[in-house]
């Protein structure tokens, strides 16, 4: 597999604040990579250095085999960028907006119009960008980043400030954009989003990448205990505590929770005792990963 992004020892300081601290990572072509972290973790600064918008204080960036700094005209047609704010021309309609961006990349208007349809904005094609909803504006902004069919796309918090419904609607679009082998780098501060969309996730905090792996591997590596919940009344706390492999039990209005590192064994015992009514099993999440990496609760 060829490397789409090769980053070594990347560092950026603003006065005393180290926004990005000695970050190294590689992204393979065709990968969908997420950079996950709370606000202020340094995600945007990292992305902007990789895009070639900011000059790093130290370290190197190579994108698609090219240097990104200084401004590299060979690279620009090959990458697509969606910045955090909605970077639109004022008072243009959705269609005019995407046609303008298409022209900047030498792409025809027919292709631009296809993208209006692809991101589901046909109804809103003649609406000015100022009158689009947050979700519609993000769709348009993604379409503007993709209109020239780039090999590599950067999306900076495309779902920020969207309501949960609009966020989930956008996931379908996002997961489809690397179908054709395109490499995608996305920043987000939503755990569920990274888990659903990304092949690999870089967990970032205080300018450092703490871990970089697939969501499943991150959770596995965490070795977090599973939580098994049984319906209220089917099992007492005493009975639950007596089951081999149960580390901890809790009783609340929704039932009894058994914490265990051997969920298979415990469920076997529950099944034998006919206590499986309404049973749910919850394993570790990226939130647990974050907690164990940073020692604190995740704050989005």
């Amino acid at each position: 597999m060829t490397t789409a992004i090769h980053v070594t020892g990347l560092t950026k300081r603003y006065g005393d604040l180290v926004a990005v601290d000695d970050v190294s990572l590689d992204v393979a072509e065709g990968e969908f990579v997420g950079v996950l972290g709370p606000n202020g973790a340094g995600k945007t600064t990292l992305l902007e250095m990789v895009e070639g918008l900011r000059r790093p204080d130290a370290g190197g960036v190579e994108v698609l085999g090219e240097a990104v700094w200084p401004r590299n005209p060979r690279l620009q047609p090959r990458i697509g960028v969606q910045l955090q704010a909605s970077s639109f021309f004022e008072r243009l309609t959705a269609r005019e907006q995407i046609r303008t961006f298409a022209s900047l990349y030498g792409v025809g208007q027919a292709t631009a119009d296809e993208w209006v349809e692809r991101v589901g904005l046909t109804d809103k094609a003649d609406t000015r960008v100022e009158d689009l909803s947050g979700g519609q504006a993000q769709r348009l902004s993604i379409a503007c980043a993709l209109v020239h069919d780039p090999e590599l796309v950067f999306l900076d918090e495309p779902t920020a400030a969207l309501d949960p419904q609009a966020r989930r609607n956008l996931w379908d679009l996002l997961s489809s954009i690397n179908d054709s082998g395109r490499t995608v780098v996305l920043t987000t501060h939503y755990m569920d989003e990274a888990e659903v969309l990304c092949d690999r996730v870089a967990v970032m905090d205080h300018g450092r990448i703490l871990q970089f792996d697939s969501p499943a591997a991150l959770v596995r590596g965490l070795d977090a205990p599973a939580r098994i919940r049984v319906a209220p009344g089917s099992l007492t706390v005493e009975q639950a505590s007596a089951i081999a492999g149960v580390i901890e039990t809790r009783d609340d209005a929704d039932g009894v929770v058994l914490v265990t590192r051997d969920p298979a064994g415990v469920i076997g015992v529950l099944a034998a005792g006919d206590h499986l009514d309404g049973v749910t099993v919850q394993t570790g999440t990226l939130e647990d990963v974050f907690l164990s990496l940073t020692g604190r609760e995740y704050r989005a």
């Binding site: 047609p77 970077s87 004022e90 008072r91 046609r99 303008t100 022209s103 990349y105």
Partner: protein, 356 residues
């Protein structure tokens, strides 16, 4: 030309953004035109007003004026008749008339008011001239001296001629500075500047598109001002008016640079536009856009020399209405170009890609 080239795509996008912004269009185009209508209408009626005279009883002197002199008299005075002297004087006192005239024997008595000083002076001077003229005629000897007056300006030089170039200069300065300030700040804030930096278009193309749109707007303002001035107020351009075009182009660049400076310094769109306003509006007053500077103190006239708008105004006055040759625009052009370069360098030095 290829409408889909990056340059045209950007130009069209910027132009659409401007034309769809009602506030911008109003302040760049409609607002200055309102001033043109106001000034053109207000001052053109003033110089036609005559002196209101009440003639009390019989005044043989003015009733027997020789041919020619009675015409001149009618040009200056609007005469009504009355037989009641006290009532006539009361009317003058109240300002309903400017002078009450009576004749007692060989004495002509003019009761006038000093509240309108110009008319008081005109009344005294004119009446004295008629009395002297009549005395000479009665003496029977021909007059030795004669006076011939000739206006130095073109006959068509009315208020509108003076007002149009100055107001046009102000309008161009305002829209060029506001446009540049608002675009720079707005694009910086929405990160569109960053986004364009990542697209395969050079900074030169972006700047060229913005300049092209501003120049197009300035030339449109020129056409509207000249069109409205000529159609409604009898504006007449003198021979080398076309030299106003290079003046407008260089002036636009100069005030765009001023707008970029405001946009580079300010942190918000409103701040940038307000700063541009703060720079342009006082400059318009001090550069003779609203009233001529001839009557102002010398120090003010010298101070106005360091304002680019003064040179734009003077240059346009010279070639558009004062009837001077194309060469009259050369010095203002050079001065404006120098201003444009200095301000651009200053703006470039202060320029930041982002507000942070």
């Amino acid at each position: 030309m290829n409408r889909q080239s990056p340059f045209w795509a950007l130009s069209i996008a910027i132009l659409r953004g401007f034309l769809r912004d009602r506030a911008s269009v109003f302040f760049a185009v409609i607002f200055p035109l309102m001033f043109l209508v106001l000034f053109g209408g207000l001052f053109s009626s003033q110089d036609q007003s005559k002196v209101d005279m009440i003639q009390v009883g019989s005044v043989p002197l003015i009733e027997q004026l020789p041919e020619g002199a009675d015409e001149a008299f009618a040009d200056t005075f609007e005469v009504t008749h009355s037989d009641d002297l006290d009532d006539a004087i009361e009317q003058v006192r109240k300002g309903d008339a400017d002078v009450a005239l009576e004749q007692r024997g060989d004495e002509i008595i003019a009761h006038y008011t000093q509240t309108e000083q110009v008319k008081a002076a005109v009344t005294q001077g004119t009446l004295r001239a008629f009395v002297d003229g009549t005395n000479v005629a009665v003496s029977g000897s021909p007059p030795k001296f004669s006076l011939v007056t000739e206006q130095v300006e073109d006959d068509s030089l009315t208020t509108i001629q003076f007002v149009t170039p100055g107001l046009l200069g102000w309008a161009i300065a305002m829209s060029a500075a506001f446009g540049a300030a608002a675009t720079l700040q707005g694009w910086r804030q929405s990160k569109l500047l960053r986004r364009l930096q990542l697209a395969p278009v050079g900074t030169g193309t972006v700047v060229a598109a913005r300049i092209t749109v501003t120049l197009a707007v300035a030339l449109m303002q020129f056409a509207l001002f000249i069109g409205l001035g000529a159609a409604a107020f009898g504006l007449q351009l003198s021979g080398s008016w076309w030299m106003a075009l290079p003046l407008i182009i260089v002036g636009t660049l100069c005030f765009m640079a001023l707008g970029l400076f405001a946009g580079a310094v300010a942190k918000t769109v409103e701040g940038a536009v307000n700063l541009a306003n703060f720079l342009v509006l006082p400059m318009a007053f001090l550069s003779g856009s609203f009233f001529p500077l001839d009557a102002s103190p010398t120090w003010l006239q010298r101070f106005s020399d360091i304002l680019p708008l003064k040179h734009l105004n003077e240059g346009m006055l010279d070639v558009m209405v004062r009837g001077q040759g194309p060469g009259a625009a050369v010095v203002p052009l050079l001065i404006l170009a120098a201003f444009a370069m200095v301000i651009t360098l200053l703006a470039a030095k202060l320029f930041r890609w982002e507000t942070t």
